[in-house]
């Protein structure tokens, strides 16, 4: 989108590492066609953490899966383009996509239990991943594996590398998964709910590690989570998703402290905060629409406290709103921008 591209320039001069433009993902079944992602546009620059938030079913995980070509068989990217650096990656075949996955884009999933093969030692899995992406001898790969384990904060990596996944605790396992994602020195890591399965004390450790990696390696991270607290801790910018669309995107403090979109505003005030028992929580009534029944116009209009007539008819585009962008008719197109 034009405006989004313009905003990149103002926010930072660096060229985006990942540039997703007008991505639409549809699912085809005998019941008909479902539009699961609708005109999703965003960019991530090197060394940046972009948080993707939204409630379940909003399309956050699907956004990550679409970028790395891991859509289920019935789904397809039907419009838009995805660029990684200079390369277009939305039209690659399976083999070339597989090479990008792991090599250029590392993946971290929610459950460390399922991301690791329980029958192989951590070292074997690291060596396999490293040698499949990099031209390296097994011995060198093992050495690199030990270094990676040290980087992600596993004590005594020379010994631990020969342990099996079940010999690690939950937090340590997630560190191993992160080490695996970093094997080929990717430029971008897509982390889908990386701390959701962990206890708070462990979660804090893993988040600190992710931040550390961004700082030391200049990694870009796309952090998908439903937990606003996690996003607030580590993200530089946030994209808020609702019913398969991005409704607001902008710098983290601004989106959290003074959200532009009524949905984001509702979401923020719905979160209980430490130390305020007296206040009744602000609630957004109703539920997010199912993908087969997205209302016309703005998808949020039936639940919106500030709904106008135009919201029921015309779908709002992402337009500049304060320091970010919001898809809401409260922010009319330039030049008469006024809130």
């Amino acid at each position: 989108m034009m405006q989004e591209a313009a905003a990149h320039k103002t926010a930072s001069e660096a060229a985006p590492l990942l540039d997703v433009r007008d991505m639409t993902v549809q699912f085809f079944s005998r019941h008909g066609t479902l539009t699961a992602l609708d005109n999703v546009s965003f960019a991530i620059r090197p060394g940046e953490v972009l948080g993707i938030v939204g409630e379940s079913g909003a399309g956050k995980s699907l956004t990550g899966a679409s970028i790395v070509g891991l859509l289920p068989d019935s789904g397809r990217v039907t419009a838009g383009e995805i660029r990684l650096g200079e390369q277009r990656i939305d039209n690659l075949d399976r083999t070339r996509m597989r090479r990008i996955r792991g090599r250029e884009i590392g993946l971290i999933f929610q459950d460390p239990q399922t991301s690791l093969n329980p029958l192989l030692t951590v070292g074997k899995q690291l060596v396999q991943t490293i040698t499949s992406h990099l031209d390296m001898s097994a011995a060198a790969a093992r050495q690199r594996g030990i270094e990676l384990l040290r980087d992600v904060g596993i004590p005594a990596p020379e010994r631990r590398i020969d342990s099996y996944p079940h010999q690690f605790s939950g937090g340590m396992r997630q560190r191993v998964v992160i080490a695996l994602a970093l094997c080929a020195d990717p430029r971008l890591v897509i982390a889908d709910e990386p701390t959701t399965a962990l206890d708070v004390s462990i979660q804090a450790q893993v988040l600190a590690l992710l931040q550390d990696l961004v700082r030391k390696r200049g990694l870009a991270i796309m952090l998908i989570t439903h937990d606003m607290g996690v996003i607030a801790e580590v993200a530089d910018r946030i994209a808020v998703m609702y019913a398969g669309r991005i409704v607001e995107i902008g710098p983290v403090r601004q989106v959290i402290d003074s959200p532009s979109h009524p949905y984001t505003a509702g979401l923020m005030s719905a979160i209980p905060k430490l130390g305020d028992r007296a206040r009744r929580l602000v609630q957004i009534d109703g539920n997010m629409p199912r993908l087969d029944a997205v209302p016309s116009g703005c998808a949020f209009n039936p639940r919106c406290p500030r709904v106008m007539d135009i919201c029921r008819v015309e779908r709002p585009q992402l337009r500049p709103a304060r320091a970010g962008h919001a898809a809401c008719h409260l922010y009319p197109a330039l030049p008469q921008a006024e809130t």
Partner: protein, 344 residues
């Protein structure tokens, strides 16, 4: 609700709704028969001596990380598990050692539970009205079909659903709506105490707010007592009157919710509070946290938190601390018991 009032004993006004005394629960993990015969038994002490008191119409919360035993406490209280030892006094009557379904029934009517998983907690093959009517039918609370139907419709409205929703099946509802159905079922027998086991942890934040508001409204309206089990400290802070922090089957700190959140004393409570990622932002000062929760099958000696505690002393490694009153709350910590505060 008529029923609830007529059966409530008069003396009850002064007794707490629920008192738990020295509750213990061990799980026998011995795998083989041979191991059992040879005496190589392995036990998991899920709850290791727990005392709770919940006043009428208030909310007591148990917080802690996974494996600390908080869900086991809930299940021992409602009778899904039999406690190994200890007392559970409901309205002053010990129900922990009650035997037989008939004896338990009157208590069961007055104690209900809301579960974590809105998908597993409703029988997928039953209609919603059948699900909600089950406690009414089980306890024979209403004389005929029409009366039951009328009550079910009332309950549906009370939890924010439509009377017509009773004809549908659970799969036709979203997670938040299913949790409302669970709440309606819990209310059906007009209970005094509702145990809420992670009632919102499977829900999205906007729906979580709806459910938490509903639970608070119902508490005010019906004078309900809640035992809330949660790992989400913000939810606990929002809901509780009093709170207990659990670590490896024991309470490390118990007291008034505002007091504990405002000024946590036990090193574990402090650590837990500072670890919560907060939307408040970077201003929060973090206490360094090291290590993992130990394996509950072989917990550390002495104070079970000592391997992770920055204030550890020799005594902590050997003697398990007994809860003592420090600054208006019960804390199980040697250092706090001796000095009244932690070293700076």
């Amino acid at each position: 609700m008529m029923v609830a009032q007529t059966q409530r004993p008069d003396r009850a006004a002064s007794t707490p709704q629920l008192v738990v005394k020295d509750l213990r629960k061990q799980f026998d993990l011995t795998r083989s028969v041979a191991g059992r015969l040879l005496g190589h038994q392995q036990y998991l002490k899920a709850i290791d001596g727990l005392d709770i008191e919940i006043a009428r119409g208030t909310t007591f919360s148990l917080v802690g990380e996974s494996g600390c035993g908080k869900s086991t406490v809930a299940r021992c209280i409602v009778g899904i598990y039999k406690p190994t030892s200890g007392q559970v006094l409901f309205d002053g009557v010990d129900i922990a050692q009650m035997r037989g379904r008939k004896v338990m029934l009157p208590v069961r009517r007055r104690m209900q539970m809301i579960f974590q998983d809105p998908y597993a907690s409703l029988n997928p093959r039953w209609r919603v009205s059948q699900i909600i009517a089950e406690p009414i039918r089980t306890h024979g609370l209403l004389p005929d079909r029409q009366a039951v139907q009328k009550r079910v419709d009332e309950l549906l409205v009370q939890v924010g659903l439509a009377p017509g929703d009773g004809r549908k099946y659970p799969h036709e509802f979203s997670g938040g709506q299913r949790q409302r159905i669970s709440i309606a079922r819990a209310l059906a027998s007009s209970p005094d105490l509702i145990v809420c086991d992670e009632p919102t942890s499977a829900l999205d934040v906007s729906v979580q707010a709806q459910i938490l508001n509903l639970l608070r409204d119902l508490q005010e309206e019906l004078g309900l007592t809640y035992l809330l089990i949660s790992h989400n400290l913000a939810v606990v802070a929002h809901m509780s009157t009093r709170l207990g922090v659990m670590y490896l089957g024991r309470l490390v700190e118990t007291g008034d919710s505002q007091l504990l959140f405002g000024q946590p004393l036990h090193p574990y409570t402090r650590m837990l509070l500072s670890a919560v990622p907060d939307v408040g932002g970077a201003a929060v000062k973090r206490v360094a946290i090291a290590g993992d929760v130990p394996n509950p099958i072989s917990p550390p000696s002495g104070c079970s938190f000592h391997p992770r505690c920055p204030f550890v002393q020799d005594k902590c490694r050997m003697v398990p601390p007994v809860p003592s009153m420090v600054q208006g709350r019960l804390v199980a910590c040697h250092v706090l018991a001796e000095h009244g505060e932690l070293p700076a």
